[in-house]
């Protein structure tokens, strides 16, 4: 390779400046010590070397850094801009619904109740991975609740976490499966709750139709699925259940009375009766959440359900389809019942002293005007009029939380009805006074005149009230039993007059 030759014009340390024959100057490093100005020297052909000079490299490096940063942020923005992929609902102490996009990031969150709102307010969720948000929400709810969350079951039982994933688009999707797996793993509370309980996570895959239906009830899809499953389990065990939503929480049919259960006759005068129901459960004496739940119960509690058998019997796809079907069915029935309730409230159901009383004891809702939950959430209260025990017309106030009525009704076949609470306020009916005198009659099984109580509406708004519907098919036998008692009472009243 021919090398250019040049005249050394300057030497400074290792740097040598050379004048070439075409009048150009070249500066390069030379470790040779035997060269000096005035000498000719071969000029290295360092085009390849000098091309990559700092002057040329700096803008390239700067541009590369800018591209790298913009790519990074651009990619972030790309992730954030992914469309909505699925809704994820989390029911623990409260109820929260998350909107998750295709990148698994939470775009929005909605609290479906107060506890959920409280938890959500302490968590940063926007554009965060869904599993992180779920984990944070569970931790927040664990932290804030000193007592077992409202949704927990009896003290001896386990608090449950329910997660539901609702894909926006139907059909199999690996991304949705991955999301479900991650949030399910994240939903297990890290710390053991008090009393050394461990939590159980139940996960469902539902569809938009189920979600929309559950929305009508104001609950999350996961919560609806849990109740639906509980209901079906109860039915499967052959427990008598009225139409869902009709049942009064804690109502016990005569056949359901178990020894030791508190009945009106056992109540010490002056003392309120204690219901057998477990707070927050909305369960009947059987302890199963499958029956007797009101919408209020549904909103504020979660039944205990063991999905082990379900998982064993059905494959994943079958399980999902099964859950969607029963949930839809359950929701539809609940919605229908609520609608009926409202219709009957607005209808001629208010004068139904008979009807209301006739329906007493069979787990039907109290007559309109009789029982209202304090919060007016559609809880069902049994007849308020029947007095329990001595003179006090205050039936058992089993109100928990927002005034759910868990009053039990026991029908001993004598027309006695143990009234549950009527939610907030007094559960006393004006007939309470009457009750005092009628207490004695309770021993007979007679009840104070309910008709006065009929018109004496206890507190609570009418929202969600359910009229005692004597027409309920399931309670026919009970109707007859109580119908006779009611008739007797009516006769007596007429006689008094």
């Amino acid at each position: 390779m021919e090398r250019r030759r040049g005249l050394i014009v300057e030497r400074s340390g290792k740097n040598v400046t050379v004048l070439t024959r075409d009048g150009g100057f070249v500066t390069f490093k030379s470790s040779r010590e035997d060269v000096m100005p005035g000498m000719e020297i071969a000029v290295p052909s360092a085009r390849g070397f000098t091309f990559f000079t700092w002057r040329r490299l700096v803008p390239v490096v700067a541009l590369s850094l800018v591209l790298a940063f913009s790519s990074f942020f651009g990619y972030q923005q790309y992730l954030y801009a992914q469309p909505l992929m699925a809704y994820v609902t989390l029911d623990y102490a409260g109820s929260v619904e998350l909107e998750v996009n295709g990148a698994g990031l939470v775009k929005a969150a909605t609290a479906l109740d107060e506890a959920g709102q409280q938890a959500l307010s302490s968590v940063e969720y926007e554009n965060r991975p869904a599993q992180q948000v779920v984990e944070a929400l569970v931790a927040a709810q664990e932290k804030t609740s000193q007592q077992p969350p409202v949704g927990t079951q009896a003290v001896t039982q386990e608090p449950s976490v329910v997660v539901a994933v609702v894909p926006v688009k139907p059909g199999p999707a690996a991304a949705v499966d991955n999301l479900e797996k991650k949030v399910s793993e994240s939903a297990a509370p890290k710390a053991k709750a008090q009393d050394d309980r461990q939590s159980q996570v139940t996960t469902f895959r539902l569809d938009m139709e189920t979600r929309d239906s559950a929305k009508e009830l104001g609950i999350s899809a996961g919560r609806a699925a849990m109740w639906a499953l509980s209901k079906h389990e109860a039915e499967g065990r052959g427990e008598q259940t009225d139409h869902p939503g009709n049942e009064t929480p804690g109502q016990v049919t005569p056949s359901q009375v178990t020894p030791g259960q508190v009945t009106p006759s056992q109540v010490t005068p002056g003392q309120p009766t204690q219901g057998n129901e477990t707070p927050g459960q909305g369960q009947g004496p059987s302890g199963n959440g499958g029956k007797g739940q009101t919408l209020d119960d549904v909103k504020h509690s979660l039944p205990k359900v063991d999905t082990t058998e379900l998982d064993k019997q059905k494959g994943q796809q079958e399980r999902d389809k099964y859950m969607k079907d029963i949930t839809k069915d359950w929701v539809n029935r609940m919605v229908e019942e609520i609608r009926k309730e409202k219709d009957s409230e607005n209808g001629p159901g208010k004068d139904s002293g008979k009807n209301s009383q006739a329906s007493q004891g069979n787990g039907h809702e109290s007559s309109p005007g009789q029982s209202k939950s304090g919060s007016g959430k559609g809880s069902v209260s049994p007849q308020s009029s029947p007095q329990q025990g001595g003179g006090k017309s205050s039936p058992t106030s089993q109100t928990t939380g927002s005034g759910q009525n868990y009053g039990q009704q026991t029908d001993h076949g004598q027309g006695q009805v143990v009234a549950g609470s009527q939610g907030s306020g007094s559960s006393q009916s004006p007939s309470g006074d009457q009750g005092s005198g009628q207490t004695d009659e309770q021993g007979d099984g007679s009840q104070p005149a309910s008709p006065p109580a009929t018109g004496q509406t206890q507190e609570g708004s009418g929202d969600g009230q359910r009229s005692h519907d004597s027409g309920d098919a399931d309670g026919h036998s009970q109707d007859r039993t109580q119908g006779g008692w009611i008739s007797d009472m009516l006769d007596r009243i007429r006689g008094w007059r």
Partner: protein, 233 residues
Amino acid sequence: MESRVARARDGDPQAREDLLRDYTPFILKTASAAARRYLVMGRDEEISVALSAFNEAISAYSSPNPGFLAFAATVIRRRLIDHYRREKRKDEVPFSSLADEDDPGEWPAAVEAAEGGVVEDWSGVLERRDDIERWSEVLKEFRLTLKDVVKCTPKHVDARERAIRTAVLLARDEALRRKFLEQKRLPLDDLVKALSDEVASRKTLERQRDYITAIAVIMTHGLTSLAEFLDLG
């Protein structure tokens, strides 16, 4: 050069030290040529022998003919031979390869370096070196340094050729030359007029001002070795 050697010989230690430092490349080159290999200072013992020989040449030099460098080169070679004899390194330096070792008056016209294929004519080297030093001094009068000239040198060969032609024109034109030497700067307006037949804008001349000045200095101040090197005619 001769005066410096005289001062050093007369006992000026600083002058001796300056000579040794300034002519170290010459010493290295001569020793490398004598040893037929590239010598590195600090590594090869021949270097110290050569330095010692140069110092001895300073002390011994008296005759102006040949020149001091030729005399010093001879002394260096002889001392190296003595060194090799002492070390008995016959395979490194065959005696037959040493030319004119017994003729102190002979000075090889060209000595090929052991490495790099560099052919050096020391008289020419010294002349060019002197011209380069002079060139730097004159540029200072024009408020320029070699670094400034290197910076503004046109990158393209064509542009450099046009700039050199402009400098030659300036040097050959009496009026322009006078103005240039008097004002110590480039007479741009006159140059633009003088270059009317060529495509040369004032902006281009301003951009290449320092380079044109440096070339014009070579031609106007008799730096013939540099002019010959650049073939400025």
